[in-house]
Amino acid sequence: MGLVNSIFATVQFEILRVLTLRRLSVAVIMALFPPTMIFWLQAGGALASPGFIITLFCGMVCLLSLLLWSTSNVYAELEGKSWAFITSRPYGRWSILFGKFLVAFLVSFIISWIALSLCMLVTGDLDFNILNDGKEVPKMQVWLALSGLLFLASMVYAAIFSLLGVLIQRRAMAIAVVFFTVVEVVFAVIPAVVGKFAMSFHMFCLLTHWVGWVPPSAGQDEDANEILQDFLNVYGRQDAWVHLAVIFAMTLLSLSLAAYVICKREYITLEDSQV
Protein backbone atom coordinates (compact mmCIF):
# COMPACT_ATOMS: atom_id res chain seq x y z
CA MET A 1 0.00 0.00 0.00
CA GLY A 2 2.86 2.32 0.89
CA LEU A 3 4.49 1.72 -2.48
CA VAL A 4 1.30 2.38 -4.45
CA ASN A 5 0.69 5.48 -2.37
CA SER A 6 4.20 6.79 -3.00
CA ILE A 7 3.97 6.07 -6.75
CA PHE A 8 0.77 8.09 -6.98
CA ALA A 9 2.38 10.82 -4.88
CA THR A 10 5.17 10.99 -7.47
CA VAL A 11 2.67 11.08 -10.33
CA GLN A 12 0.83 13.93 -8.62
CA PHE A 13 4.06 15.80 -7.87
CA GLU A 14 5.41 15.37 -11.40
CA ILE A 15 2.14 16.61 -12.88
CA LEU A 16 2.36 19.65 -10.61
CA ARG A 17 5.85 20.23 -12.00
CA VAL A 18 4.49 20.00 -15.55
CA LEU A 19 2.17 22.87 -14.95
CA THR A 20 4.75 25.48 -15.82
CA LEU A 21 4.32 27.84 -18.73
CA ARG A 22 7.39 26.43 -20.49
CA ARG A 23 6.38 22.78 -20.26
CA LEU A 24 2.76 23.50 -21.12
CA SER A 25 3.86 25.49 -24.15
CA VAL A 26 6.01 22.58 -25.35
CA ALA A 27 3.05 20.19 -24.91
CA VAL A 28 0.69 22.51 -26.81
CA ILE A 29 3.18 22.99 -29.66
CA MET A 30 3.66 19.23 -29.94
CA ALA A 31 -0.10 18.58 -29.96
CA LEU A 32 -0.70 21.26 -32.59
CA PHE A 33 2.15 20.28 -34.88
CA PRO A 34 0.45 17.34 -36.73
CA PRO A 35 -2.93 19.03 -37.33
CA THR A 36 -1.16 22.19 -38.52
CA MET A 37 0.94 20.17 -40.95
CA ILE A 38 -2.10 18.21 -42.15
CA PHE A 39 -4.07 21.42 -42.64
CA TRP A 40 -1.19 22.98 -44.54
CA LEU A 41 -0.68 19.91 -46.76
CA GLN A 42 -4.42 19.60 -47.36
CA ALA A 43 -4.73 23.25 -48.28
CA GLY A 44 -1.84 22.85 -50.73
CA GLY A 45 -3.41 19.70 -52.19
CA ALA A 46 -0.36 17.66 -51.20
CA LEU A 47 -2.07 15.34 -48.71
CA ALA A 48 -1.79 12.20 -50.82
CA SER A 49 -2.31 9.59 -48.13
CA PRO A 50 -3.90 11.12 -45.01
CA GLY A 51 -3.99 7.89 -42.98
CA PHE A 52 -0.28 7.28 -43.47
CA ILE A 53 0.75 10.91 -42.87
CA ILE A 54 -1.41 11.22 -39.72
CA THR A 55 0.04 7.98 -38.31
CA LEU A 56 3.56 9.18 -39.07
CA PHE A 57 3.14 12.65 -37.51
CA CYS A 58 1.26 11.46 -34.43
CA GLY A 59 3.76 8.65 -33.93
CA MET A 60 6.61 11.17 -34.11
CA VAL A 61 4.94 13.41 -31.55
CA CYS A 62 4.36 10.45 -29.24
CA LEU A 63 7.99 9.38 -29.60
CA LEU A 64 9.38 12.86 -29.06
CA SER A 65 7.29 13.32 -25.94
CA LEU A 66 8.45 9.96 -24.59
CA LEU A 67 12.08 10.84 -25.26
CA LEU A 68 11.63 14.06 -23.31
CA TRP A 69 9.79 12.50 -20.41
CA SER A 70 11.10 8.97 -19.94
CA THR A 71 14.80 8.99 -20.68
CA SER A 72 15.65 11.64 -18.10
CA ASN A 73 14.00 9.80 -15.19
CA VAL A 74 17.20 9.41 -13.15
CA TYR A 75 19.39 12.05 -14.77
CA ALA A 76 16.90 14.85 -14.09
CA GLU A 77 16.99 14.01 -10.38
CA LEU A 78 20.78 13.73 -10.29
CA GLU A 79 21.15 16.97 -12.22
CA GLY A 80 18.47 18.74 -10.18
CA LYS A 81 20.19 17.51 -6.99
CA SER A 82 16.96 16.02 -5.70
CA TRP A 83 18.32 12.47 -5.85
CA ALA A 84 19.52 12.57 -2.22
CA PHE A 85 16.05 13.56 -1.01
CA ILE A 86 14.35 10.79 -2.97
CA THR A 87 16.75 7.96 -2.27
CA SER A 88 16.76 8.60 1.47
CA ARG A 89 13.12 7.42 1.44
CA PRO A 90 12.19 3.72 1.53
CA TYR A 91 10.01 3.97 -1.58
CA GLY A 92 12.01 6.72 -3.27
CA ARG A 93 13.70 4.76 -6.04
CA TRP A 94 10.64 2.67 -6.88
CA SER A 95 8.33 5.64 -6.97
CA ILE A 96 10.66 7.68 -9.18
CA LEU A 97 10.79 4.86 -11.71
CA PHE A 98 7.13 3.91 -11.76
CA GLY A 99 5.77 7.40 -11.08
CA LYS A 100 7.79 8.93 -13.89
CA PHE A 101 6.92 6.02 -16.19
CA LEU A 102 3.21 6.63 -15.59
CA VAL A 103 3.56 10.36 -16.15
CA ALA A 104 5.58 9.87 -19.36
CA PHE A 105 3.04 7.33 -20.58
CA LEU A 106 0.01 9.48 -19.74
CA VAL A 107 1.43 12.78 -20.97
CA SER A 108 2.70 11.28 -24.23
CA PHE A 109 -0.53 9.45 -24.89
CA ILE A 110 -2.66 12.51 -24.14
CA ILE A 111 -0.54 14.82 -26.33
CA SER A 112 -0.44 12.40 -29.26
CA TRP A 113 -4.11 11.48 -28.89
CA ILE A 114 -5.11 15.16 -28.94
CA ALA A 115 -2.92 15.58 -32.03
CA LEU A 116 -4.59 12.57 -33.67
CA SER A 117 -8.10 13.78 -32.83
CA LEU A 118 -7.36 17.25 -34.16
CA CYS A 119 -5.95 15.71 -37.36
CA MET A 120 -9.19 13.76 -37.80
CA LEU A 121 -11.16 16.98 -37.35
CA VAL A 122 -8.94 18.90 -39.74
CA THR A 123 -9.30 16.29 -42.51
CA GLY A 124 -13.13 16.56 -42.33
CA ASP A 125 -14.77 14.38 -44.98
CA LEU A 126 -11.52 13.56 -46.77
CA ASP A 127 -11.35 9.98 -47.98
CA PHE A 128 -8.58 8.01 -46.25
CA ASN A 129 -8.50 5.21 -48.88
CA ILE A 130 -8.07 2.57 -46.22
CA LEU A 131 -9.45 -0.72 -47.38
CA ASN A 132 -9.98 -3.90 -45.42
CA ASP A 133 -11.07 -6.92 -47.45
CA GLY A 134 -11.96 -4.54 -50.22
CA LYS A 135 -14.29 -2.44 -48.05
CA GLU A 136 -13.68 1.18 -47.07
CA VAL A 137 -12.84 1.39 -43.35
CA PRO A 138 -14.97 3.98 -41.48
CA LYS A 139 -13.04 6.98 -40.21
CA MET A 140 -14.20 6.36 -36.64
CA GLN A 141 -12.66 2.88 -36.78
CA VAL A 142 -9.37 4.35 -38.01
CA TRP A 143 -9.42 6.87 -35.20
CA LEU A 144 -10.12 4.15 -32.61
CA ALA A 145 -7.40 1.87 -34.00
CA LEU A 146 -4.81 4.65 -34.09
CA SER A 147 -5.83 5.74 -30.55
CA GLY A 148 -5.24 2.18 -29.40
CA LEU A 149 -1.85 2.06 -31.10
CA LEU A 150 -0.81 5.38 -29.57
CA PHE A 151 -1.82 4.02 -26.18
CA LEU A 152 0.26 0.87 -26.69
CA ALA A 153 3.21 2.79 -28.16
CA SER A 154 3.19 5.27 -25.25
CA MET A 155 3.13 2.41 -22.79
CA VAL A 156 5.80 0.15 -24.26
CA TYR A 157 8.23 2.87 -25.34
CA ALA A 158 7.83 4.67 -22.00
CA ALA A 159 8.92 1.43 -20.34
CA ILE A 160 11.83 0.84 -22.74
CA PHE A 161 13.05 4.43 -22.48
CA SER A 162 12.68 4.32 -18.68
CA LEU A 163 14.99 1.30 -18.68
CA LEU A 164 17.49 3.18 -20.86
CA GLY A 165 17.25 6.19 -18.51
CA VAL A 166 18.01 3.98 -15.53
CA LEU A 167 20.95 2.30 -17.27
CA ILE A 168 22.49 5.36 -18.90
CA GLN A 169 22.30 8.81 -17.41
CA ARG A 170 24.16 11.39 -19.37
CA ARG A 171 23.27 10.58 -22.96
CA ALA A 172 20.14 8.55 -22.40
CA MET A 173 18.12 10.57 -24.92
CA ALA A 174 20.69 10.19 -27.70
CA ILE A 175 21.06 6.47 -26.96
CA ALA A 176 17.26 6.12 -27.03
CA VAL A 177 17.14 7.76 -30.48
CA VAL A 178 19.85 5.38 -31.76
CA PHE A 179 18.06 2.43 -30.17
CA PHE A 180 14.78 3.41 -31.78
CA THR A 181 16.36 3.88 -35.19
CA VAL A 182 18.22 0.59 -35.12
CA VAL A 183 15.71 -1.68 -33.39
CA GLU A 184 12.35 -0.14 -34.18
CA VAL A 185 13.02 1.08 -37.71
CA VAL A 186 15.79 -1.10 -39.19
CA PHE A 187 15.06 -4.39 -37.39
CA ALA A 188 11.33 -4.03 -37.99
CA VAL A 189 11.70 -4.18 -41.76
CA ILE A 190 14.12 -7.10 -41.83
CA PRO A 191 12.10 -10.14 -42.87
CA ALA A 192 13.59 -12.44 -40.26
CA VAL A 193 13.06 -13.41 -36.61
CA VAL A 194 15.02 -10.32 -35.52
CA GLY A 195 12.17 -8.17 -36.84
CA LYS A 196 9.87 -9.56 -34.19
CA PHE A 197 11.98 -7.93 -31.49
CA ALA A 198 10.80 -4.58 -32.75
CA MET A 199 7.64 -3.36 -31.05
CA SER A 200 6.85 -1.34 -34.16
CA PHE A 201 6.46 -4.63 -36.05
CA HIS A 202 3.82 -5.85 -33.59
CA MET A 203 2.01 -2.53 -33.73
CA PHE A 204 2.03 -2.63 -37.50
CA CYS A 205 0.54 -6.12 -37.35
CA LEU A 206 -2.14 -4.86 -34.98
CA LEU A 207 -2.91 -2.05 -37.36
CA THR A 208 -3.43 -4.52 -40.18
CA HIS A 209 -5.69 -6.55 -37.90
CA TRP A 210 -7.76 -3.59 -36.85
CA VAL A 211 -8.09 -1.51 -40.02
CA GLY A 212 -6.27 -3.31 -42.78
CA TRP A 213 -3.52 -1.55 -44.68
CA VAL A 214 -2.64 2.11 -44.40
CA PRO A 215 -1.22 2.75 -47.88
CA PRO A 216 1.87 4.91 -48.22
CA SER A 217 0.35 6.78 -51.15
CA ALA A 218 -3.11 7.34 -52.56
CA GLY A 219 -4.34 5.47 -55.58
CA GLN A 220 -2.16 2.45 -54.91
CA ASP A 221 -4.62 0.44 -52.87
CA GLU A 222 -4.23 -2.67 -54.96
CA ASP A 223 -0.43 -2.49 -54.87
CA ALA A 224 -0.60 -1.81 -51.18
CA ASN A 225 -2.77 -4.81 -50.57
CA GLU A 226 -0.25 -6.88 -52.48
CA ILE A 227 2.55 -5.52 -50.34
CA LEU A 228 0.51 -6.35 -47.25
CA GLN A 229 -0.07 -9.90 -48.41
CA ASP A 230 3.67 -10.35 -49.10
CA PHE A 231 4.46 -8.90 -45.72
CA LEU A 232 2.08 -11.22 -43.93
CA ASN A 233 3.36 -14.20 -45.90
CA VAL A 234 6.93 -13.47 -44.80
CA TYR A 235 6.15 -12.78 -41.14
CA GLY A 236 3.34 -15.26 -40.68
CA ARG A 237 -0.18 -14.52 -39.60
CA GLN A 238 -0.75 -14.35 -35.87
CA ASP A 239 -3.78 -13.34 -33.89
CA ALA A 240 -3.99 -9.82 -32.51
CA TRP A 241 -3.80 -11.09 -28.95
CA VAL A 242 -0.30 -12.49 -29.63
CA HIS A 243 0.94 -9.05 -30.63
CA LEU A 244 -0.81 -7.47 -27.68
CA ALA A 245 0.74 -10.05 -25.35
CA VAL A 246 4.22 -9.34 -26.76
CA ILE A 247 3.77 -5.59 -26.23
CA PHE A 248 2.52 -6.02 -22.65
CA ALA A 249 5.27 -8.55 -21.90
CA MET A 250 7.92 -6.16 -23.21
CA THR A 251 6.52 -3.40 -21.02
CA LEU A 252 6.64 -5.63 -17.95
CA LEU A 253 10.10 -6.95 -18.77
CA SER A 254 11.52 -3.46 -19.30
CA LEU A 255 9.99 -2.14 -16.08
CA SER A 256 11.13 -5.17 -14.08
CA LEU A 257 14.69 -4.81 -15.35
CA ALA A 258 14.61 -1.07 -14.69
CA ALA A 259 13.30 -1.68 -11.14
CA TYR A 260 16.09 -4.16 -10.47
CA VAL A 261 18.76 -1.81 -11.77
CA ILE A 262 17.48 1.32 -10.02
CA CYS A 263 17.29 -0.51 -6.69
CA LYS A 264 20.67 -2.21 -6.92
CA ARG A 265 22.78 0.44 -8.54
CA GLU A 266 25.04 3.00 -6.88
CA TYR A 267 24.29 6.34 -8.51
CA ILE A 268 27.29 8.54 -7.90
CA THR A 269 26.83 12.25 -8.35
CA LEU A 270 29.61 14.58 -9.39
CA GLU A 271 29.70 15.98 -5.84
CA ASP A 272 30.13 12.47 -4.42
CA SER A 273 33.03 11.60 -6.66
CA GLN A 274 34.74 14.85 -5.66
CA VAL A 275 34.45 13.47 -2.09
Partner: protein
Amino acid sequence: MIEFHNVTKLYKTVIGVNDISLKIEPGVYGLLGPNGSGKTTFINLVMGQLRPSMGHLSVFGMDPWQNDGLLNRIGLCPAIQAHYPFISGLKWVAYLTQLRGFSRKQSHQMAAESLAVVGMEYAMNRAMSSYSLGMRQRTVLAQSIAHKPELLILDEPFNGLDPKGRYEMTVFLKSWVKEGRSVILASHILHEVESLNPSLLLVSGGRLLASGSPQQVRSIIANCPNSVRVRCRQTAELAALVTGNFEIKSISINSEAEELEIESMNPLELLKLLPGLAMKNNLLISELRSSDDSLQNIFSMLMLIHRGGMRLPE
Protein backbone atom coordinates in the same frame (compact mmCIF):
# COMPACT_ATOMS: atom_id res chain seq x y z
CA MET B 1 24.29 2.81 16.64
CA ILE B 2 26.86 3.01 13.81
CA GLU B 3 29.91 0.81 13.38
CA PHE B 4 32.56 1.09 10.68
CA HIS B 5 35.08 -1.70 10.36
CA ASN B 6 38.00 -0.75 8.10
CA VAL B 7 35.63 0.86 5.64
CA THR B 8 37.11 2.16 2.41
CA LYS B 9 35.12 3.67 -0.43
CA LEU B 10 36.74 4.22 -3.79
CA TYR B 11 35.32 6.17 -6.73
CA LYS B 12 37.44 4.50 -9.39
CA THR B 13 40.83 5.93 -8.47
CA VAL B 14 39.59 8.59 -6.04
CA ILE B 15 39.40 7.65 -2.36
CA GLY B 16 36.16 8.71 -0.67
CA VAL B 17 36.83 7.29 2.76
CA ASN B 18 40.01 5.48 3.64
CA ASP B 19 40.11 2.60 6.12
CA ILE B 20 37.79 4.13 8.71
CA SER B 21 37.00 2.16 11.85
CA LEU B 22 34.78 3.70 14.49
CA LYS B 23 31.88 3.02 16.79
CA ILE B 24 29.22 5.66 17.34
CA GLU B 25 26.82 5.25 20.25
CA PRO B 26 23.55 7.25 20.35
CA GLY B 27 24.32 10.90 21.03
CA VAL B 28 25.44 14.06 19.33
CA TYR B 29 28.35 14.00 16.91
CA GLY B 30 30.09 16.65 14.92
CA LEU B 31 31.65 15.34 11.73
CA LEU B 32 34.31 17.91 11.01
CA GLY B 33 36.46 18.18 7.96
CA PRO B 34 37.41 20.57 5.19
CA ASN B 35 35.51 20.53 1.92
CA GLY B 36 36.20 17.32 0.02
CA SER B 37 37.36 15.46 3.12
CA GLY B 38 34.89 12.58 2.79
CA LYS B 39 32.02 13.79 4.98
CA THR B 40 29.35 13.31 2.33
CA THR B 41 30.73 9.89 1.40
CA PHE B 42 30.59 8.95 5.08
CA ILE B 43 26.93 10.07 5.19
CA ASN B 44 26.05 8.23 1.97
CA LEU B 45 27.58 5.05 3.37
CA VAL B 46 25.49 5.40 6.53
CA MET B 47 22.40 6.07 4.42
CA GLY B 48 23.04 2.92 2.36
CA GLN B 49 23.39 4.85 -0.88
CA LEU B 50 26.96 3.70 -1.34
CA ARG B 51 28.47 0.27 -0.82
CA PRO B 52 31.90 0.09 0.81
CA SER B 53 34.67 -0.99 -1.55
CA MET B 54 36.35 -2.67 1.41
CA GLY B 55 35.37 -3.35 5.00
CA HIS B 56 31.85 -3.39 6.37
CA LEU B 57 29.56 -1.21 8.42
CA SER B 58 26.33 -1.48 10.33
CA VAL B 59 23.68 1.04 11.29
CA PHE B 60 21.28 0.12 14.10
CA GLY B 61 22.81 -3.36 13.88
CA MET B 62 21.97 -3.80 10.19
CA ASP B 63 23.85 -3.53 6.92
CA PRO B 64 22.62 -0.21 5.51
CA TRP B 65 23.39 -0.95 1.82
CA GLN B 66 20.02 -0.29 0.21
CA ASN B 67 18.26 -1.44 3.34
CA ASP B 68 14.94 0.37 2.93
CA GLY B 69 13.83 -0.71 6.38
CA LEU B 70 16.47 1.52 7.95
CA LEU B 71 15.58 4.70 6.09
CA ASN B 72 12.54 5.58 8.19
CA ARG B 73 14.74 5.57 11.31
CA ILE B 74 17.03 8.20 9.81
CA GLY B 75 16.38 11.75 8.66
CA LEU B 76 18.80 13.27 6.17
CA CYS B 77 19.21 16.97 5.67
CA PRO B 78 21.61 17.15 2.70
CA ALA B 79 23.75 20.13 1.83
CA ILE B 80 21.51 20.83 -1.15
CA GLN B 81 19.05 23.61 -1.73
CA ALA B 82 15.66 22.51 -3.01
CA HIS B 83 14.23 24.68 -5.74
CA TYR B 84 10.89 24.01 -7.37
CA PRO B 85 9.03 26.84 -9.04
CA PHE B 86 5.26 26.83 -8.38
CA ILE B 87 5.51 24.17 -5.68
CA SER B 88 4.98 25.20 -2.09
CA GLY B 89 7.18 24.10 0.76
CA LEU B 90 4.23 22.24 2.28
CA LYS B 91 3.56 20.26 -0.89
CA TRP B 92 7.22 19.35 -1.29
CA VAL B 93 7.69 18.21 2.31
CA ALA B 94 4.35 16.33 2.20
CA TYR B 95 5.41 14.60 -1.04
CA LEU B 96 8.72 13.51 0.43
CA THR B 97 6.94 12.25 3.55
CA GLN B 98 4.57 10.22 1.36
CA LEU B 99 7.62 8.49 -0.11
CA ARG B 100 8.15 7.08 3.38
CA GLY B 101 4.88 5.20 3.05
CA PHE B 102 2.60 7.55 4.95
CA SER B 103 -0.87 8.37 3.60
CA ARG B 104 -1.55 11.67 1.89
CA LYS B 105 -3.47 13.02 4.86
CA GLN B 106 -0.88 11.92 7.40
CA SER B 107 1.94 13.31 5.28
CA HIS B 108 0.26 16.70 4.98
CA GLN B 109 -0.20 16.88 8.72
CA MET B 110 3.36 15.76 9.45
CA ALA B 111 4.75 18.20 6.88
CA ALA B 112 2.78 21.11 8.35
CA GLU B 113 3.97 20.22 11.85
CA SER B 114 7.64 19.97 10.87
CA LEU B 115 7.48 23.23 8.92
CA ALA B 116 5.99 24.88 12.00
CA VAL B 117 8.84 23.48 14.12
CA VAL B 118 11.44 25.14 11.86
CA GLY B 119 9.50 28.41 11.81
CA MET B 120 8.18 28.14 8.26
CA GLU B 121 4.49 27.99 9.13
CA TYR B 122 3.85 31.47 7.75
CA ALA B 123 5.33 30.72 4.31
CA MET B 124 4.60 27.03 3.84
CA ASN B 125 1.88 27.61 1.23
CA ARG B 126 4.06 29.92 -0.84
CA ALA B 127 5.95 28.72 -3.91
CA MET B 128 9.48 27.64 -3.01
CA SER B 129 10.91 29.86 -5.73
CA SER B 130 9.95 32.86 -3.58
CA TYR B 131 11.94 31.57 -0.57
CA SER B 132 15.18 33.09 0.59
CA LEU B 133 18.25 30.89 1.03
CA GLY B 134 17.59 30.59 4.76
CA MET B 135 13.93 29.67 4.20
CA ARG B 136 14.93 26.94 1.77
CA GLN B 137 17.46 25.61 4.25
CA ARG B 138 14.76 25.45 6.92
CA THR B 139 12.41 23.69 4.51
CA VAL B 140 15.13 21.14 3.76
CA LEU B 141 15.48 20.62 7.50
CA ALA B 142 11.70 20.19 7.83
CA GLN B 143 11.66 17.33 5.30
CA SER B 144 14.28 15.50 7.36
CA ILE B 145 12.41 15.70 10.67
CA ALA B 146 8.80 15.26 9.53
CA HIS B 147 8.80 11.55 10.41
CA LYS B 148 10.60 12.16 13.74
CA PRO B 149 13.64 9.96 13.09
CA GLU B 150 15.85 8.39 15.76
CA LEU B 151 18.93 9.69 14.00
CA LEU B 152 19.15 13.03 12.25
CA ILE B 153 22.04 13.57 9.84
CA LEU B 154 22.71 17.13 8.79
CA ASP B 155 25.22 17.99 6.09
CA GLU B 156 26.39 21.61 6.43
CA PRO B 157 23.05 22.79 7.86
CA PHE B 158 24.31 26.30 8.60
CA ASN B 159 25.14 27.05 4.96
CA GLY B 160 23.28 30.09 3.73
CA LEU B 161 21.83 30.99 7.10
CA ASP B 162 22.10 34.51 8.48
CA PRO B 163 23.12 34.96 12.16
CA LYS B 164 19.48 34.82 13.27
CA GLY B 165 18.93 31.67 11.23
CA ARG B 166 22.07 30.10 12.68
CA TYR B 167 20.89 30.90 16.19
CA GLU B 168 17.45 29.42 15.48
CA MET B 169 19.02 26.32 13.95
CA THR B 170 21.19 25.88 17.04
CA VAL B 171 18.17 26.32 19.33
CA PHE B 172 16.22 23.76 17.31
CA LEU B 173 19.06 21.24 17.35
CA LYS B 174 19.51 21.68 21.10
CA SER B 175 15.81 20.97 21.68
CA TRP B 176 16.02 17.98 19.31
CA VAL B 177 18.95 16.58 21.26
CA LYS B 178 17.13 17.22 24.56
CA GLU B 179 14.41 14.83 23.41
CA GLY B 180 17.03 12.10 23.49
CA ARG B 181 17.48 11.81 19.72
CA SER B 182 20.80 11.34 18.01
CA VAL B 183 22.39 13.83 15.65
CA ILE B 184 25.34 13.71 13.29
CA LEU B 185 26.22 17.18 12.14
CA ALA B 186 28.72 17.47 9.31
CA SER B 187 30.42 20.80 8.98
CA HIS B 188 33.72 22.40 8.07
CA ILE B 189 33.38 25.07 10.76
CA LEU B 190 34.29 24.04 14.30
CA HIS B 191 32.45 26.69 16.27
CA GLU B 192 29.17 25.94 14.46
CA VAL B 193 29.02 22.46 15.87
CA GLU B 194 30.64 23.23 19.22
CA SER B 195 27.51 24.86 20.64
CA LEU B 196 25.80 21.44 20.74
CA ASN B 197 28.67 20.04 22.79
CA PRO B 198 29.05 17.04 20.52
CA SER B 199 31.69 14.36 20.33
CA LEU B 200 33.82 15.35 17.40
CA LEU B 201 34.98 13.19 14.52
CA LEU B 202 37.71 14.90 12.53
CA VAL B 203 38.07 13.64 8.98
CA SER B 204 40.37 14.72 6.21
CA GLY B 205 41.51 13.04 3.02
CA GLY B 206 38.94 10.35 3.70
CA ARG B 207 40.60 9.39 6.99
CA LEU B 208 39.41 9.70 10.55
CA LEU B 209 42.20 11.79 12.04
CA ALA B 210 40.98 12.38 15.57
CA SER B 211 37.92 12.03 17.74
CA GLY B 212 36.82 13.19 21.15
CA SER B 213 35.12 16.03 22.98
CA PRO B 214 35.61 19.61 21.73
CA GLN B 215 37.99 20.20 24.66
CA GLN B 216 40.11 17.20 23.73
CA VAL B 217 40.18 18.22 20.10
CA ARG B 218 41.05 21.79 21.00
CA SER B 219 43.93 20.55 23.11
CA ILE B 220 45.17 18.41 20.19
CA ILE B 221 44.94 21.45 17.97
CA ALA B 222 46.66 23.67 20.52
CA ASN B 223 49.49 21.16 20.85
CA CYS B 224 50.10 21.03 17.14
CA PRO B 225 52.98 23.11 15.81
CA ASN B 226 51.40 26.42 15.00
CA SER B 227 52.09 30.08 14.35
CA VAL B 228 51.36 32.68 16.98
CA ARG B 229 51.02 36.37 16.23
CA VAL B 230 51.94 38.83 18.98
CA ARG B 231 51.34 42.57 18.82
CA CYS B 232 53.79 44.51 20.96
CA ARG B 233 55.57 47.88 20.70
CA GLN B 234 58.96 46.47 21.76
CA THR B 235 59.16 43.81 19.05
CA ALA B 236 62.95 43.33 19.21
CA GLU B 237 63.00 42.85 22.99
CA LEU B 238 60.07 40.46 22.82
CA ALA B 239 61.77 38.48 20.05
CA ALA B 240 64.86 38.10 22.21
CA LEU B 241 62.73 36.96 25.13
CA VAL B 242 60.92 34.38 23.04
CA THR B 243 64.04 32.91 21.45
CA GLY B 244 65.66 32.62 24.86
CA ASN B 245 62.77 30.86 26.56
CA PHE B 246 60.82 28.79 24.01
CA GLU B 247 61.44 26.08 21.48
CA ILE B 248 60.61 27.79 18.20
CA LYS B 249 61.01 27.01 14.52
CA SER B 250 61.19 30.59 13.26
CA ILE B 251 60.41 34.12 14.21
CA SER B 252 59.75 37.14 12.00
CA ILE B 253 59.57 40.75 13.09
CA ASN B 254 57.36 43.33 11.44
CA SER B 255 58.48 46.55 13.13
CA GLU B 256 56.10 48.76 11.19
CA ALA B 257 53.06 46.75 12.22
CA GLU B 258 54.63 46.21 15.65
CA GLU B 259 54.00 42.50 15.23
CA LEU B 260 55.91 39.25 15.73
CA GLU B 261 55.05 35.99 14.02
CA ILE B 262 56.39 33.05 15.96
CA GLU B 263 56.31 29.54 14.57
CA SER B 264 56.33 27.39 17.65
CA MET B 265 56.69 23.66 18.25
CA ASN B 266 54.45 24.00 21.29
CA PRO B 267 52.05 26.90 20.81
CA LEU B 268 49.95 25.98 23.86
CA GLU B 269 52.94 26.49 26.17
CA LEU B 270 53.83 29.71 24.37
CA LEU B 271 50.30 31.10 24.67
CA LYS B 272 50.21 30.14 28.36
CA LEU B 273 53.56 31.46 29.50
CA LEU B 274 54.36 34.37 27.20
CA PRO B 275 51.98 36.97 28.75
CA GLY B 276 53.44 36.42 32.27
CA LEU B 277 57.01 36.48 31.01
CA ALA B 278 56.35 39.69 29.06
CA MET B 279 54.83 41.34 32.13
CA LYS B 280 57.89 40.40 34.22
CA ASN B 281 60.07 42.08 31.61
CA ASN B 282 57.84 45.18 31.33
CA LEU B 283 56.82 44.40 27.75
CA LEU B 284 53.26 45.34 26.86
CA ILE B 285 51.45 42.80 24.69
CA SER B 286 48.33 44.26 23.06
CA GLU B 287 47.28 41.19 21.09
CA LEU B 288 48.10 37.51 21.15
CA ARG B 289 46.53 35.08 18.73
CA SER B 290 47.07 31.91 16.79
CA SER B 291 47.55 32.78 13.14
CA ASP B 292 46.92 29.35 11.71
CA ASP B 293 43.50 28.88 13.19
CA SER B 294 41.72 27.85 10.01
CA LEU B 295 40.42 24.31 10.05
CA GLN B 296 42.22 23.55 6.80
CA ASN B 297 45.62 24.19 8.42
CA ILE B 298 44.71 22.16 11.44
CA PHE B 299 43.64 19.28 9.25
CA SER B 300 46.81 19.52 7.21
CA MET B 301 48.81 19.22 10.41
CA LEU B 302 46.72 16.35 11.71
CA MET B 303 47.17 14.63 8.37
CA LEU B 304 50.94 15.09 8.63
CA ILE B 305 50.86 13.62 12.15
CA HIS B 306 48.64 10.78 10.94
CA ARG B 307 51.16 9.91 8.21
CA GLY B 308 54.04 10.02 10.67
CA GLY B 309 55.54 13.15 9.14
CA MET B 310 55.21 15.04 12.40
CA ARG B 311 54.89 14.11 16.07
CA LEU B 312 52.72 15.78 18.65
CA PRO B 313 54.74 17.32 21.48
CA GLU B 314 54.42 15.42 24.76
